[in-house]
């Protein structure tokens, strides 16, 4: 039995260690929690983490980032409940599924916690759940703007590579794009999954099966990076019209090389940075901007890539 006791003591020591450090790290200042819907594997959210960390540092507030490890929205609802139970000064959250998240967010608001909706969701939904404001890029509108621009650049037939088919808001980008082009979405939206080599091969297969496609829209680095690789492989890079949402290292390179015509930057940094600053000022001085903040869309083309390049994946 003694060896068992030893094991217990050892395990307790191991388990306890991170608690100690975590406790000392918690200092004074307001506590804000950002809850996202993104699974751990989604690297795009790194910018968000950096954004809140920088803002927290600058205004002297404690910030935390939480997400459901698998991207399960029901789990996310629990995380919001949990965040509310821990009694923070403010919660910044995405509104990835209005039905599911409405209840937990309203409960937090009713409990006296300030909430700002960022990234996904709409200004209307933000108002309905009682949030202070919405910071983000309205998805459909952004897609529509992209569609209009692509139409002007001569796209007649397109493929939309959707790596996040579970999230209906992301799909709105495809729908907006189709409407902007003035053509029916039909089956042009591809459920690509998130595995890079799968995406690449699916894109290759689609393009060889549909030779009349002259435009591609990807919805983020997860789908854009493999698509770039696919186009380089089949020689269509630079030839076919290629627009993408969001930025990342590969996307920036693609824009520079001419493979990608433009990237739509929703400036995630602002979506994370602004809410923290706004909440801190609201808590301290009672000042609040009178309107929602549109962090995007901004089209990033070959011109003026230096800053983007420098901070891609970090703050851009």
């Amino acid at each position: 039995m003694t060896s068992l006791m030893n094991k217990l003591v050892l395990a307790t020591a191991i388990v306890a260690a991170p608690f100690m450090t975590a406790q000392t790290a918690a200092a004074e200042g307001e506590k804000y929690i950002l809850v996202s819907h993104a699974p751990d594997s989604d690297t795009w959210w790194n910018t968000i983490k950096n954004g809140i960390a920088l803002a927290g540092e600058q205004v002297g507030a404690d910030v935390e980032y939480r997400n459901p490890p698998t991207g399960d929205i029901a789990d996310m609802a629990r995380i919001i409940d949990q965040a509310a139970a821990s009694g923070p000064d403010g919660i910044i959250t995405t509104l990835a599924d209005f039905d599911v998240l409405k209840g937990p967010i309203q409960n937090a608001v009713d409990q006296g916690i300030d909430v700002i909706i960022m990234n996904t969701g709409t200004p209307e939904q933000a108002r309905e759940v009682g949030a202070l404001m919405y910071v983000g890029q309205p998805e459909y509108d952004a897609g529509f703007a992209a569609g209009l621009r692509a139409k002007g650049e001569g796209v007649t037939n397109f493929l939309c590579v959707n790596h996040a088919i579970q999230q209906p808001t992301v799909g709105e980008r495809c729908r907006g794009y189709a409407d902007g082009l003035g053509i029916d979405l039909g089956d042009a939206m591809m459920d690509s999954g998130t595995d890079p080599s799968e995406i690449k091969n699916k894109v290759l297969a689609y393009l060889s099966a549909n030779p009349d496609v002259d435009g591609i829209l990807t919805l983020g680095p997860v789908s854009a990076d493999p698509t770039i690789a696919a186009l380089q492989e089949n020689g269509m890079a630079g030839d076919i019209h290629f627009g993408t949402f969001d930025l990342g290292e590969e996307i920036v390179k693609g824009i520079k090389a001419g493979t990608i015509n433009w990237g739509i930057d929703q400036q995630p940094f602002l979506q994370a940075y602004m809410p923290v600053v706004i909440l801190a000022n609201w808590d301290r001085y009672g000042v609040l901007p009178g309107n929602n903040i549109n962090s995007g869309p901004g089209f990033v083309t070959k011109d003026g890539l230096t800053k983007v390049e420098e901070f891609a994946g970090e703050y851009r």
Binding site: A16, A22, Q23, A85, D97, D110, I165, Q166, P168
Partner: protein, 354 residues
């Protein structure tokens, strides 16, 4: 004394005590143990418990089900399709969903028993098949992957509250009025307690645990479950209908997954194609922490329930303790390893296995 202590649940009991002690030390005033915090980790644990009971009995009977997570997504989507898209009365939608899902569970079991293939492979196939349908069906008929409006469709239905309702509201209102638990400070619910009742999800978890425990330890069928998993050939020689037992356990696992799904869609009001991802592993982990043997023939429902509790408390508690969320997996791994070592040690004492 030693005899009374050495039982399959011992690992689970030790783990539960250790976990609560840790969090009481490091996260006591973080909100984890106020009414809202308690409700939060209780609900999460109850969710794990519901699927762990099914997975536990199935594992003791010697099989696995990797399709639990996909089944949760699929069942939720079926409710949405029948109840919202086809606008059938919600109780019919719920009953038909249960029938379909239990039948799929039985089919899982039938294929395993008939082909003699490892259940790992057969249910892995179902993991993909069901997840695929869960995305395909709503995409085809509604052009989206989340179908909402279930709560509205369930309004006034007699069966829906059995899954999505809450009980004990007067008690909690009284507790709130008496100042024992917190109340909302503003908004439409100002003055109402922050915890306003016990969700049916928790009741289901308790009912399933009690049912599973009695079935396993107090009935003839329970003896057959142990026998089927311990040594199917020996059990057959003694006249135990092993195939029937296994198929029924697959069905029961599917039933538990469906209970999980129905509670979830009734609470949140929408069904999504990504619901239940990786839940099969969470169920299996809870069961293993609870002392069951992966190869079958040994385990305890109470242990599995404690495993689910540990899982839920750790997952939620780390947040309250202010630990970086990415460390959750590290903790989970450590606990899993520790639990398995302890459980193996206990099991060897009990069964004389070497």
């Amino acid at each position: 004394m030693r005899q009374a202590l050495i039982r399959p649940e011992l690992g689970g009991i030790v783990g539960t005590v250790a976990v609560f002690t840790l969090f009481a030390l490091f996260a006591f005033d973080s909100g984890m143990f106020n009414s809202q915090g308690v409700m939060n980790w209780t609900i999460v644990s109850a969710q794990f418990m519901i699927i762990a009971v099914g997975a536990c009995l199935l594992m003791i009977s010697g099989e696995f089900d990797l399709s639990v997570g996909s089944m949760i997504g699929f069942a939720g989507m079926m409710i949405a399709v029948f109840g919202v898209v086809l606008a059938w009365p919600m109780w019919i939608a719920i009953i038909i969903t249960f029938v379909i899902c239990c039948a799929l569970g039985a089919l899982n079991g039938f294929i395993v028993v008939r082909t003699g293939l490892p259940s790992f492979i057969v249910t892995l196939a179902f993991l993909f098949i069901l997840r695929g349908f869960t995305i395909y069906i709503p995409q085809t008929i509604e052009r989206k992957t989340i179908i909402g409006g279930i709560r509205d469709a369930a309004e006034g239905d007699w069966l829906a509250p059995v899954f999505g309702g809450k009980i004990g509201q007067p008690l909690f209102q009284w507790l709130g009025d008496a100042g024992i638990i917190g109340v909302f400070e503003r908004g439409s619910r100002a003055g109402q307690p922050v915890v306003d009742g016990i969700p049916m999800l928790i009741i289901w978890a308790l009912v399933l645990i009690v049912f599973g425990h009695i079935l396993l330890t107090r009935t003839r069928f329970g003896n057959w479950i142990f026998a089927s998993g311990g040594d199917a050939e020996a059990a057959r020689n003694s006249g135990v209908p092993v195939n029937k037992v296994k198929i029924l356990m697959f069905t029961f696992t599917a039933f538990c997954a469906t209970v999980f799904a129905v509670c979830q869609v009734m609470e949140f009001g929408s069904a999504g194609a990504d619901r239940g991802l990786l839940k099969e592993f969470e169920a299996i982990i809870a069961v293993v922490i609870g002392g069951a043997l992966l190869t079958g023939g040994y385990g305890s429902v109470i242990g599995a329930a404690l495993g689910a509790l540990i899982f839920g408390v750790v997952q939620q508690g780390l947040f309250f303790a202010g630990v970086e969320s990415s460390l959750f997996r590290v903790f989970l791994g450590v606990i899993l390893l520790f639990a398995v070592i302890l459980n193996t040690y206990i099991r060897r004492i009990i069964t004389g296995e070497r």
